[in-house]
Subunit: 204 residues, 2 copies
Amino acid sequence: MKYHRIPDETIRRMPKYLRALGWLQQQGYATISSQQLAGQLHLKSPQIRKDLSYFGAFGTRGIGYPVEKTASQIRQILKLDSPQKAVLVGAGRLGTALAEYRGFEMLGFEIAAIFDKSPEKIGKRVGALVIEDARFLHRIQDRQIRLAILAVPAEAAQECADVLVDAGIKGILNLSPLAIDVPRSVKVISIDLAVELGVLPYYV
Amino acid sequence: MKYHRIPDETIRRMPKYLRALGWLQQQGYATISSQQLAGQLHLKSPQIRKDLSYFGAFGTRGIGYPVEKTASQIRQILKLDSPQKAVLVGAGRLGTALAEYRGFEMLGFEIAAIFDKSPEKIGKRVGALVIEDARFLHRIQDRQIRLAILAVPAEAAQECADVLVDAGIKGILNLSPLAIDVPRSVKVISIDLAVELGVLPYYV
DNA sequence: CAATGTGAACAGCTTCACAGCC
DNA sequence: GGCTGTGAAGCTGTTCACATTG
C-alpha cells in the first residue's frame, strides 16, 4: 500500500485482534480468515483486512492469516513484544480489582508497583506486591516504568498525574471521571464507566 | 436546525456534559459558555454548540447556557430524569467496586440487585444489597429492571447475557473481554480495560 | 459586543468492489 | 475457488466562518 497515516481507530482495534489471535492459537488454529475473525469480534471482514494491510501483507490469498505470526507482528507494532511495566495508583476496590486482573498480563503488561495514600492500605499486600506510600510516588522515576493506571478519586487525579509526569511516565490510563492536563508528549486514555453507562437508557 | 440524525458520538458526549454541568452547579455557576465548558472537558467549543443544538436552542447569545436548565434537558434527552435501575452480574473485585462507585448515582442510576454464582459470595452484603444466586438471575424479569452491568469472567459472559436478554434486559454494559451476541433490540456497550491499555505503548 | 446556532467545507474512517494471488 | 490487498466511493463526524441575536 502507498503511504498512509494509520488511523487511530485501527490502532484501537489491534489489541482486540491480538487477544482474539491468542485465543485462536490456544484452540489450535494455524490460520484464520478475515471473515472468521470478523465474526468473532463483531466486525466486518474488509475492516480487518484493511487494518492489517496498513502494516504490510500478513496474509496468504486463498488461505488467510497465520495465527501465530500475525500475533507476534501485532505485538511488535504495539510494542507489546517486550514486557511493559505499569504503576497502579490507587488501591481502592477498583485499583485492587485491576491489580488482580489477568487480562493485562495476557497483553504483556506487568503491574510493577501499587501506591495509595491511605495509611491503612500502605504496607498491605496485593498479590505479589506491597502497597507503597503515595507520598513517594515520584520515586518510580528510578524503576524504568513508563505507564501508569490512575484509579484514584476525582479530586486526586490531577495531582497524581502531575507527579507521574514529573517521574517520567509517558502513558496514563485514567479511570477517574475528570479530564487531566498533561504535556503533549504524554498520552492519556480516559475511561469513565458512569459515562459509558449513561448512554444506555437513550438507546433502550 | 433542519432535520439531522443525531450522531452517536454526540450522544456519547452528553453524559460528560451532564456531569460537568452538575459540578458547575455545585460551584454556583448559573450560566456557562461553550468555551468554558470546552476547556474543562478538553473539547472544542463549536463541538459543544453543535452537539447541544441538535436538541434545540438551549443557550442565550451573548450569555451562554443556563447550567441547571441545560442539565435537566440533557437528563431528559438521555432518559436519566427518572431513576434507572440496573442489575449487576458478577460480585468479584470489579463488580463490588462498581457496586460502591458513587458515579453511577450521580447520573441517576441505581444498582438494584447483585448476582453471583459462587456459593461463598451468595448471601453476603455489598452496601445495602445482598448478593443473590446467579441461578435465579431470570427472576429479575419481575423487578422492572432494564439495564445490566456484566462483570463476569469471559467464559460466563455469553451465558449470562442470554439469561439477561430473556429476562427483558434492554441494555448491557459489558466489562468482559468478549463480544457478546444479543438480539438487535438490545444495546450493548463493551469496555475492555486491557485493550484500552494495549494501545498506550504504541503512542509512547 | 459576546456568545450562540448553523450551513458548508473538511477530515477521517468504513465499506465496497474487484484485481491479484495461492 | 477462496481469500487477501487496495484504490475509490461513500459515510460520519468535526471544524470553520459568520450571520444572528440578546
